[in-house]
Every structure is written in structure tokens, then in C-alpha cells.
């Protein structure tokens, strides 16, 4: 059984990797297995966690959960063509709930927190000592303020990017590009380690070639 599981894992792993060469039956098989089993996995998980765990075990304490179930049921009315339009109601609920929630969330966490965090002194006596002492810190805080400011100018919609305004927006996009470069550099590193893990599985756990 242990041998079987190991070979199955290796077989599927190689099947996915074979996609790099080209689309082929081996990949299609791995893909079909993946889709079928993972869809089943998620349905079962949703069933036990949400339907049983949250609704069935909870409605005695919270009768209001029936409203959720009713909305869910309305969703199923899509299957009846004549009254299928009723399924828009639960969708409308979801759109309303998502918009309402995120409006306040983003206002607080994205706008207010970030604006407040940007407010920092351009230079300060504390730079003379401390671990970050030196011109790096001064340039650093200047860069943060200028970068945030010009970045916002780049996103400004109601003015053409021309003249001084255009130049400022261009500085803004420079900062945004550096941000992207930094994320790229960082992400590349951890992605490589994923591959190392898979190859270690194939050559080590499966074939026993490496220690």
C-alpha cells in the first residue's frame, strides 16, 4: 500500500510536470484526477463545515440562520426557468453585503492606516544615534513621503498626465515599478524552493537517489 501511494504520487507529479513539454494524455489524466477529487473534497468540506457545522448545529440558537438557508434555497430556483430570475435576490444580498463590508474595511485599513503611517519626520534628531543612523534613513523617509505622494498623483483620473503634473505622475510610476521589482525579486526566491521540494520528493523519497 505504501509503495502504491508513493508511486501514485510520483506518477501524478510527473504527469503535471509533463505539461511543460506539451499538453498530453498523461497531463490530461492528472488534471482529470485533480479536478474530480478536489471538487469532491471541497464539497464535502463545505457540507460538513458550513451546512452542518454552521447551519444545522446552530439554528436552534440563532433562528435567523434560516434566512440564510432561505436565500440559499432561492439560489436553487435558477433550475426552474420560469422563476429563475428570483435567484438574483441572494446575489443582490451578496453584492450588498460585500460592498458594505469592504467599503468600511478599506476605508479604515487601506486609506486611514496608510495615510497615518506615511506621516513621519523628514529628518529627526534621533537619526544622529540609533541603529538606523545616517543619510540612508533621511533619504529613506524622504523617499517614502515623495513616493507615496507622487504615486497618488499617478492614479489621479481627472487630469491628463501632461506638463508638471505629468512629470510628477511619471515619478509616481517609477516608485510603483520599484515596488513591483522588489515583489518580483522576493517572490522568485520562494518559488524556487517549491520546485526544490518537488525534486527532492522525486529523487529522494521516491527513487532514493539522494540522501
Amino acid at each position: 500500500m505504501e509503495h502504491f501511494a508513493l508511486w501514485l504520487s510520483a506518477f501524478l507529479t510527473l504527469g503535471i510536470l509533463s505539461f511543460l513539454y506539451k499538453d498530453n494524455p498523461w497531463y490530461k489524466l492528472s488534471e482529470a484526477v485533480f479536478v474530480g477529487i478536489s471538487a469532491g473534497f471541497w464539497f464535502v468540506t463545505l457540507f460538513w463545515d458550513n451546512l452542518v457545522g454552521k447551519f444545522w448545529d446552530g439554528w436552534q440558537d440563532e433562528p435567523m440562520l434560516w434566512v440564510g438557508a432561505a436565500l440559499g434555497f432561492l439560489m436553487l430556483l435558477r433550475l426552474v426557468p420560469r422563476i429563475g430570475w428570483i435567484s438574483r435576490w441572494p446575489l443582490a444580498f451578496i453584492v450588498g453585503a460585500t460592498s458594505g463590508l469592504w467599503l468600511m474595511n478599506y476605508l479604515a485599513s487601506n486609506i486611514m492606516v496608510q495615510v497615518q503611517a506615511t506621516i513621519q519626520p523628514l529628518f529627526s534628531t534621533s537619526y544622529a544615534s540609533g541603529p538606523d543612523a545616517g543619510w540612508g534613513a533621511i533619504v529613506g523617509s524622504l523617499v517614502i513621503v515623495v513616493g507615496t505622494f507622487t504615486g497618488l498623483v499617478y492614479f489621479y483620473f481627472s487630469k491628463e498626465h501632461k506638463g508638471a503634473f505629468g512629470a510628477t505622475a511619471r515619478v509616481g510610476i517609477f516608485f510603483i515599478m520599484i515596488t513591483f521589482g522588489a515583489s518580483f525579486g522576493y517572490t522568485v526566491m520562494s518559488r524556487m524552493s517549491l520546485l526544490i521540494g518537488r525534486i527532492d520528493f522525486l529523487l529522494g523519497d521516491w527513487l532514493g537517489l539522494i540522501n
Partner: protein, 336 residues
């Protein structure tokens, strides 16, 4: 020969290769390692072929993606066969974690939370293994748990690995007395918060179903105040940030952390503020810790692959750009 025939032959070769080596493994033959001269030859070959790609690209022939893929595959796979003594510079935060563990008196309880899943294992598993090993060598008691569903399983894999070493086996450590796996509990940061008042309320039984009160190691562990040190191995949410905010800030639990390379930069703020006593970041962190603990294992080995892979990526960026500039920036090579 038709493409189809070639493909079939390749498939056959892969199967043969796999079968032969698998049987080799089953019969208990050893592993392979390149001698130094071979490693040098391999590295030289990789370097030369990169040059060749540069020449090709300069001539205006963009090599196929699949060649790039093969490169990455080799750059990651081949170093796993090599054993080089790498010059590893050890960061202060790695020393700090090691020192924190070494300073604990024998018998101290260390809580290790495994907050990651298999995809992040290449980075975090080597850390887990060497940290557990250090704990056992120092006769510290280890309590493991997980805020990610697959965390406790990763913990068991790490424990298994550590117990393959005869020096550790000789200590005759017992489950429940010297180490315990409390398992997974859903609820993210709320689990940490509740653990602040009672471990037992979150882990009524351990991974194997033994009731909390019947486990000698934790019978008297009521909450964080009965734990002497903790290590958090984390690949995202919930993870080190939550542990610091709740367990460290509110309950004063001393804590060190191991993080994936993507996450690590965020943690430096906590490190500088003294909320973390040591930090291992990504594969290099794992390798450095192994160097400090003087036990070379997977982290060191993987680090070589990682460096190779970086170099290959950097080489490809350079090659692409050299070609791009040589062709006067109006290359036909497709780009954005």
C-alpha cells in the same frame, strides 16, 4: 524518426530509470553523491551552455521556452547530488535563536507551532528538523501543535526524521513524557488567545486522542506562563504576526520564529522591537541555523540548489536584456 516515436522512447527511458532506481532503493543500495571533480565539470558545463544560449540569443534566435525549463530543472536537481562546503555567513538573528535555545536549562518546555502546509515544507521543514534536534540534544521538552490543518502532520514527519539519528535514539525519549503533538485546532488567532488562559480548552486531547490531563508532559501546563520558550514556523496567516500580537505582546511568551522568504522581511520589524528572539528566514535561514548547530542537513543542501536557481534566473534576465540591447531595442523578440 517521428516525434511520436521519440516521445515513446523518452517515456520508456523515464520508466526504466525510475524502476531501476526504485528497485535499487528497495534493495537498500546507497545514495549517490558527485565527487568534487564531477561537480566542477557539471558546473562548468552549465556555465558553458548558458554562454552558448547567450550567443544564440545574440544572433537573434530566441531559444524555446522548453529549453529554459530544462535548465531550471537541472539547476535545481543537480546541486542536490553535490556536497560542497559553502561559505555561509550567519546572521545575528540566527545566532540569537540558537542562543535562546541553548540558554534554556534542561527540562524546559518549548512550544513549537507548525503553521504551514506541504507546499512551504521545503523552506520550513529543515528548520523544524534542526530546531527539534537541538531541543532534544539539550534535553528540552518539546510540545508541538498547529494552527494549520496539516501542521501537526509536518511535525510528525520532522520528529520521524530526527529519530533516524542514533544519537537521538540513544536518549530513549518517550512520547508524552519528553515530547507531545497536541494536533490542530481551527480558529486561527482565537486559538492563541484562548491558549492564553487554558491550553486544555483548545486541545482537549492530543493528536492521538489521549486526553490532555493524561499526558504527563502537559498535565501541569495550564497556559503560556508554564512554557519556557516557543518557536513559530509560519508560512502565512495565521502565523508569526498573530503569535507576536497575542502570545508575545499580551502574555509575555518568549518566542523565536522561522518564516518563508516571502514573509521574513515583515518580521524584521518585530525582531528589531525585541518581540522576537531570533528569526530564520527562508532556505538561507535554515542553512545558517544548521551551520550554527553544527549539523549539516537539508537546509544546507537545498541552499545550494536555491543559489543555483537564483543564478540561472539572473543569467536569463541578463541574456534576454543583452540580446535586447544588441538588437537596438527594437528586437522582434516578443515582449510587453
Amino acid at each position: 524518426m517521428s516525434t511520436r516515436a521519440k516521445e515513446l522512447i523518452a517515456l520508456g527511458a523515464i520508466t526504466l530509470f525510475a524502476l531501476s532506481f526504485y528497485l535499487n532503493k528497495v534493495w537498500g543500495r546507497g545514495t549517490f553523491e558527485f565527487p568534487t571533480w564531477l561537480s566542477a565539470v557539471v558546473i562548468a558545463l552549465i556555465g558553458l551552455s548558458l554562454l552558448w544560449i547567450l550567443v544564440l540569443t545574440l544572433k537573434g534566435r530566441l531559444i524555446e521556452r522548453r529549453v529554459v525549463f530544462v535548465y531550471v530543472g537541472f539547476a535545481v536537481a543537480l546541486p542536490l547530488f553535490m556536497s560542497f562546503s559553502q561559505k555561509i555567513t550567519i546572521s545575528p538573528e540566527v545566532y540569537q535563536l540558537h542562543d535562546a535555545l541553548m540558554e534554556l536549562p534542561a527540562g524546559s518546555k518549548v512550544l513549537i507551532s507548525f503553521d504551514y502546509d506541504p507546499p512551504s515544507a521545503p523552506e520550513l521543514q529543515p528548520m523544524a528538523e534542526s530546531i527539534i534536534r537541538v531541543c532534544f540534544e539539550k534535553d528540552l521538552k518539546v510540545i508541538v501543535m498547529g494552527l494549520w490543518p496539516q501542521g501537526p502532520q509536518q511535525a510528525n514527519l520532522a520528529l520521524e526524521k530526527v529519530f533516524q539519528d542514533s544519537a537521538i535514539v540513544a536518549k530513549n525519549l518517550q512520547y508524552g513524557k519528553d515530547y507531545v503533538n497536541l494536533g490542530f485546532q481551527a480558529g486561527n488567532e482565537f486559538v492563541i488567545q484562548r491558549m492564553g488562559s487554558s491550553f486544555e480548552s483548545m486541545f482537549p486531547s492530543d493528536y492521538e486522542g489521549t486526553p490532555y490531563k493524561e499526558i504527563p508532559l502537559v498535565r501541569n501546563v495550564r497556559n503560556f506562563s508554564n512554557v519556557d520558550f516557543s518557536v513559530n514556523l509560519s508560512a502565512g496567516f495565521p502565523g508569526t504576526v498573530e503569535w507576536v500580537q497575542i502570545a508575545v505582546d499580551r502574555y509575555g511568551l518568549p518566542m523565536g520564529a522561522g518564516n518563508t522568504a516571502v514573509q521574513a522581511p515583515v518580521m524584521y520589524a518585530y525582531l528589531n522591537a525585541g518581540q522576537l528572539e531570533g528569526l530564520l528566514g527562508g532556505m538561507s535561514g535554515a542553512a545558517e541555523f544548521e551551520a550554527v548547530a553544527e549539523y549539516q542537513a537539508k537546509g544546507t543542501k537545498f541552499m545550494l540548489s536555491q543559489s543555483f536557481a537564483h543564478v540561472v534566473v539572473i543569467a536569463f534576465v541578463i541574456i534576454g536584456n543583452v540580446a535586447f540591447f544588441r538588437s537596438g531595442r527594437k528586437s522582434k523578440l516578443r515582449g510587453n
